[in-house]
């Protein structure tokens, strides 16, 4: 207990230093150093202290780094941008190279990029940096069905598509390495998409197709539809054919808007996996889930003399069914958080979640947590 109290004290002290250090941000953008029109760089970090309990029993792991990483951008010419970004992320428990790409603008409404980049599989994968988010944990849809952060090697195009119903349309379409056989081979107890995310390798040599189309009915509203489809398994092991080609498809719909003073966002995903017949009844062929969140500035500024600061309250409900063929293997969660931002790009967050996890027998296990986290660009 003393250790934990000491940990809280250290975290609060570190947070205090972090909150008041570094240059001020412009608007909601990350804090960067250098010149965005030439070479710019920056970093971010997130520390998390939590009292996580499963059925009343406290998880001894109370401290973790949520995410630590850095980025570098360079403008090689008026049309060519280079970018690199790498981060350790708690969800993957690994260091991931999220960007190492070259982007070429052919014209304002059309560009091409190649390298390693975030697959456009929903808003939460494209915008997952903690200082800009309102929750300590990503949604279950993001962590369980998409595998955020999901960055892959590939090439593609992005830009505008004109309008539909007077709504401007944007698109991105890429050929990427795709998910790997870890979807089932490294997944314990059932299909887990996140176990099959590959960063810069490809275990089957067959590219996948990913894309997203988004409509913008108003300045604050975006409706997106994204998908990734491709082969995920190896058919030959040690020169012997062991299976036929099998495919995984992930479809994500997302929405972000502003209504009645609330920023609202929703994301839903459907996963379809062609599972080898030998493990078919244990590994799911269909999964789905949805998340809805709403946030609202409560105090802006926090105090009259503290310009640029804010306090935001947010709630979220999310659920995933990890095997549609059975009653169990599902998770439901509600979360709430208060986000104090002394400046843009830095947030001290108090959060709470309550989750019901169901095993494959449909036995329910409640889990909950009270979290204190601090994340910032620096």
């Amino acid at each position: 207990m003393r250790t934990r109290v000491a940990g809280y004290a250290i975290a609060v002290a570190a947070g205090t230093i972090l909150l008041w250090s570094g240059p001020a941000a412009a608007g909601g953008a990350p804090i960067v150093h250098g010149r965005p029109d030439k070479i710019a760089w920056g970093a971010y970090g997130e520390i998390r202290i939590a009292e996580d309990r499963v059925r009343g029993v406290t998880d001894p792991e109370w401290f973790s780094f949520g995410r630590v990483g850095g980025f570098l951008t360079a403008r090689a010419s008026s049309r060519l941008d280079l970018a690199a970004e790498g981060a350790y992320d708690r969800s993957s428990e690994d260091f991931t190279l999220e960007r190492l790409e070259a982007a070429y603008r052919l014209r304002p409404s059309l560009g091409f990029h190649a390298g390693i980049f975030l697959v456009p599989l929903g808003r939460s994968n494209l915008n997952h940096e903690s200082p800009l988010y309102e929750f300590d944990e990503r949604s279950l849809v993001a962590t369980q069905l998409i595998g955020v952060p999901h960055a892959q090697l590939g090439a593609g195009a992005q830009g505008g598509l004109g309008t539909a119903n007077e709504w401007p349309l944007t698109f991105e379409v890429d050929v990427v390495t795709g998910y790997g056989e870890g979807i089932v081979m490294d997944a314990a107890g059932g299909t887990r998409i996140a176990s099959g995310r590959l960063n810069y390798g490809d275990d089957n040599g067959v590219p996948a197709l990913a894309g997203r189309i988004a409509a913008h009915p108003s300045q604050n509203t975006e409706i997106g539809l994204a998908a990734e489809t491709g082969r995920y398994n190896r058919t030959v092991i040690d020169g012997v054919e062991v299976d036929q080609a099998r495919y995984a498809h992930v479809v994500v719909a997302d929405l972000a808007s502003r209504a009645a003073g609330f920023d609202v966002a929703a994301e839903a995903a459907v996963v379809m996996v062609d599972v080898p017949p030998g493990i078919g009844t244990l590994y799911a062929e269909r999964q789905w889930g949805a998340a809805f969140e709403a946030s609202r500035p409560l105090l802006n500024p926090l105090f009259r003399s503290w310009k640029g600061s804010s306090l935001t309250g947010a709630i979220r409900a999310d659920a995933v069914d990890l095997d549609r063929a059975i009653l169990g293997d599902s998770r439901m969660r509600v979360s709430a958080s208060l986000n104090a931002r002394p400046r843009a790009g830095t947030v001290a967050r108090v959060g709470w979640y309550y989750e019901l996890r169901r095993d494959r027998f449909n036995n329910e296990t409640p889990a909950a947590g009270l979290t204190l986290s601090l994340s910032s660009y620096f």
């Binding site: 059925r55 009343g56 314990a188 107890g189 409560l298 108090v350 309550y354 409640p366």
Partner: protein, 411 residues
């Protein structure tokens, strides 16, 4: 003016919301919103009372291993039935019909060359699951509850033998004999139920296993396809071998420590607390004894010495004599297992029935293959040595039968 009032009101509303949220979050820190521990005796996965700190640490370690789901990359397969211990034993209780294991043999021949003694219904890519050969003796086995096995292990052989009456010398129609089995060679004499000499089997539907450690090792090997130092060679389908790289996890896939942890965890799992006594239940208990159900379902058994003090020298209400009884044609699987013939079954313990439904989606699956969905149905399916007790139960007036059922389901 109205706009100014509205803005001021909105500002106070926001502050009230902040205060409310902050208060709620503070309350969360001390309240039930962070979840609470279930009451003792209300689940199957709780430790027995009286464990010391070291034993509780072992219990936690074992629980992690028991619940660990193996991926194919971890060593699951090449052929297997399920991916973790916990995925067959729901909440550490009994399984469901979809988890039934299919054992087969040709008489006493375990049919190893045909994939015996158990069908593995799943296979990793590059391997082939097994199917049932024609003309074999088949037995369907519902995974049993695993709580309280430490107490079962701690019952001395002399205690079990004291209830045996293989030739029915008292002529009550109930014989009961032990299943003498030879422990697997890897079970050392220092392990309860181990050694080279025949021991009384007490685990499994036909009491075909004497040592808990053997049960754990075989579950890893047969049910999950996970190798251990005791069983270091993969279980394969002999009729359709897997390609060499299908399971490329290094053997053994679990070590001695994991086998020990799971064994210790099982030893320290407590049985749930029986329900409160009511007048009806006391009457049911008397009628249960009067119908001579207790000839096999012994109400209380005393454990002997055990290294774990908390399970040593205790009176426990298991409701079993751990002996084999002829249960008649209706329940016969006609497949011998050790000394047990095709009509014999070990007396099923009745403890834990009170909360069994909670872990089976409100359903109940009784008898060796889960065919009975109520205690009443299970009693009606008794035959052989259980026929007299069954008939005595059926002869009771409905209210008395209800009292018996209430008593049994409260254990």
């Amino acid at each position: 003016m109205q706009s100014a009032i509205s803005r001021r009101w909105g500002c106070w509303l926001d502050r009230a919301a902040v205060a409310f949220c902050a208060g709620a979050l503070l309350a969360v820190g001390c309240g039930k919103l962070l979840t609470t521990e279930p009451e003792l005796g209300e689940r199957f996965d709780q430790p027995v009372a009286g464990l010391d700190n070291g034993e509780l640490g072992d219990f936690q370690d074992g629980q992690v291993q028991f619940r660990r789901a193996f991926s194919i990359g971890d060593g699951l397969g090449p052929i297997f039935n399920n991916s973790s211990c916990a995925s067959c034993h729901s909440g550490d209780g009994r399984g469901r019909p979809e988890n039934v294991l299919v054992r087969f043999s040709r008489g006493v021949d375990l049919a190893l060359s045909e994939g015996g003694p158990q069908i593995q219904t799943r296979a990793v890519p590059g391997a082939h699951s097994e199917s049932l050969p024609v003309g074999v003796d088949v037995s369907h086995r519902l995974p049993p509850a695993v709580f309280g096995v430490g107490f079962i292990e701690a019952i001395t052989e002399s205690t079990i033998l004291s209830h045996a009456d293989p030739s029915d010398s008292d002529q009550d129609g109930v014989s009961g004999r032990p299943n003498w089995v030879t422990p697997a060679p890897y079970v050392p004499a220092t392990e309860p139920g181990g050694g080279t000499a025949p021991r009384i089997g007490r685990f499994g539907r036909k009491a075909q296993v004497a040592a808990l450690m053997q049960q754990v090792v075989e579950a890893y090997h047969q049910d999950m396809g996970v190798t251990s130092p005791q069983r270091p060679t993969e279980n394969v389908n002999p009729l359709a071998p897997a390609v060499p790289g299908a399971d490329d996890a290094e053997d053994p896939e679990v070590g001695d420590a994991q086998v020990h942890d799971v064994s210790q965890y099982l030893r320290m799992l407590a049985p749930p607390t029986p329900g409160e006594w009511t007048d009806a239940r006391r009457r049911g208990e008397t009628l249960f004894a009067g119908a001579r159900c207790t000839a096999c379902h012994l109400p209380t058994t005393r454990t002997g010495y055990h290294e774990i003090e908390a399970i040593s020298g205790r009176d426990v209400a298991i409701y079993s004599d751990f002996l084999l009884h002829d249960m008649g044609d209706g329940l016969a699987d006609n497949r011998p297992d050790g000394d047990a013939d095709g009509r014999e079954w070990r007396t099923a313990p009745l403890w834990g029935l009170r909360i069994a439904r909670e872990f089976l989606n409100g359903e109940l699956f009784l008898l060796h293959d889960g065919r009975a969905h109520t205690v009443d149905e299970a009693i009606r399916l008794h035959g052989g040595e259980g026929a007299a007790a069954r008939d005595a139960f059926l002869a009771l007036p409905p209210s008395d039968r209800a009292a018996v059922l209430d008593f049994v389901e409260s254990r």
